[in-house]
Symmetry: C2
């Protein structure tokens, strides 16, 4: 349900979201459906969680920026991140592959047959399977007349626990993110300019990690009231959380967790922009009821080797505002991104 495509000719985040809404609206659901379309994944009455994530060559990945194996790994990781968004454990997944006759991919694999390309992608899929403890249950393999297609359907479960939804954030909750933001977008920014990103940035872009155990901890131990995974950038995803919860959000721009590599590569201002507008980090954004003690934050850090940072709070009203310095006035963020933050330049798009 996360639109990863973004360039001058794309559907556009606003239009695309309205399109998804109009297509999925007026769902009758079914007697077994607890949460239908609109959140990161669907929830059935047996606690099973279901989501699907389509990745297309030239839109979501390019073979001059990552290997077929990395594309396979990354697509599975991104799909499993939708389970993390619901604080669900993975049960398994299915993969559809569309492979061009000639091996596909500009600048890569022209000499390989379709079988070699499929095997390379599936090598990455199997790495993800092992890394994240989610078995591959089945798949489909077909010819593509054009781009390589990788579509991943994930199955998870929350058992008898409540899923973490986008709705549920309460006025007064703190707004928190895991890890550092904008690193994948910084890697893309460098690649787009023909530069070689720092290895850590490239790793974030090519080998994201779904924050599954982290999400369950945030929901169960720290009582998260709402949350999602940051696949569309903090600004846009905070907007989704605000809209679904019927609240406003105030972000503190000076608190955003940036990586040293991103700041070194692009400077602080641009790194902040990409932290707000860049997707592909797959970190978590959650609303946590106050108070969260320093000890709890430190315990989280030790347990998961990952920072947990307060980046704002839930307020009355609607939409997302941001303060660029302590005490500065909170300025509204446009729907889907902060305009001059250059959302058009931060994605995989060629």
């Amino acid at each position: 349900m996360t639109p990863d495509d973004a360039d001058g000719t794309r559907l556009g985040p606003g239009r695309e979201f309205r399109l998804i809404e109009s297509i999925l609206a007026d769902r009758e659901g079914g007697e077994r459906v607890r949460v239908g379309p609109g959140d990161d994944a669907a929830v059935l009455d047996d606690g099973s969680i279901h989501s699907i994530d389509l990745a297309v060559e030239g839109v979501h990945f390019r073979f001059d920026w990552m290997t077929p194996e990395e594309a396979g790994f990354r697509t599975v990781a991104g799909a499993l991140s939708d389970l993390a968004a619901m604080a669900a454990e993975p049960v398994g997944f299915l993969v559809s592959l569309g492979i061009p006759q000639k091996g596909g991919g500009e600048g890569k694999g022209e000499d390989d047959g379709p079988g070699d390309l499929a095997r390379s992608i599936m090598g990455g899929v199997r790495k993800a399977e092992k890394a994240f403890g989610a078995p591959l249950l089945g798949g489909d393999l077909t010819r593509s007349p054009g781009p390589v297609i990788i579509d991943v359907a994930v199955i998870g479960t929350v058992g008898s626990r409540a899923p973490l939804l986008r709705s549920g954030a309460k006025t007064g909750d703190g707004l928190w993110v895991t890890g550092t933001l904008g690193e994948a977008a910084t890697a893309i920014d460098c690649l787009r300019r023909g530069e070689t990103p720092a290895p850590a940035l490239l790793r974030r872009y090519r080998s994201p990690k779904p924050r599954i155990a982290e999400a369950i901890h945030l929901a169960e131990t720290l009582g998260a009231t709402a949350g999602l995974d940051l696949s569309d950038g903090l600004a846009g995803d905070a907007g989704h959380l605000a809209a679904a919860s019927g609240v406003g959000i105030e972000l503190e721009g000076h608190t955003l967790p940036l990586s040293r590599d991103a700041v070194e590569a692009l400077g602080r201002e641009r790194a902040v922009e990409l932290a707000l507008s860049g997707g592909d980090d797959y970190e978590l954004l959650v609303a946590l009821p106050d108070p969260i003690s320093t000890e709890e934050v430190e315990n989280f850090g030790k347990r998961f080797d990952l920072t947990l940072t307060r980046v704002g709070r839930v307020v009355e009203g609607s939409g997302v505002r941001i303060r660029t310095a302590p005490g500065a006035p909170a300025r509204p963020l446009a729907r889907g991104g902060w305009d001059h933050f250059g959302t058009e330049e931060t994605r995989t798009e060629s």
Copy 2:
């Protein structure tokens, strides 16, 4: 898991099946996985059934042969047919859509925006939702740099019943099919030659019906020992059943249920060829232990308004043989089809 693509440059049924096998082989599965990759769908220990079906413009559908709405309907119906293959009830499904900027599709929709095309396809998806009682649980929508992409992941359940597998057929079982065979392939054959197929043939091609209730009846009431849906043609699918069950199969070519429309359009010999080699009918092939009484066959016909026809039997050995006339010697069928039956000409392929 059913390769619908077929032309001179495709992966080829033999190579493709071996490719799928090699990619999915050596699965570790998982503690929750009762039946992993290799059958029509996966079965988890809670009785849930999972499958995925990728359809790509120019390979599985063409917009000069069907509308976007029909392509949406047909892809969902085909995916749900994998649940019928397991004698499972549908619980719901997810849809990934890849839509080109310009509306996509040769000869169709050049003036439509991507939103209109997506809406038309989803109109067909919603028709299938209502027709087959399976709610749409969620989806993904993205830009495609080339063909329209429709990928459908289905979720079903057998509850506490046993799923119908490809393995399990016993020597001495009769081999039965539902409905008539080769009609969708006959429609494609006519379209390929620029002729207009009879309306009933076009309907079979554009609006297939997953035989869900029929499959449950065959499994529960008539005790089917093995079965699958005919998405790859009787010859090929009988081969899959034989291989999975470790048995041989003898088909009686003169008993194949052909439609009058197909025989009128192409003559009896070609109609038999397409009944054996043509996919896309989505009828069921099952092994039923003898005896099946005339009354049981008639009851099936009345209950489902659908014929049930004995087309052969399960024998010791391996592979598929066919007798073209009563008493004639049974001749071997090559893996994946009867060579001179012209499998290359019967698919949607452009």
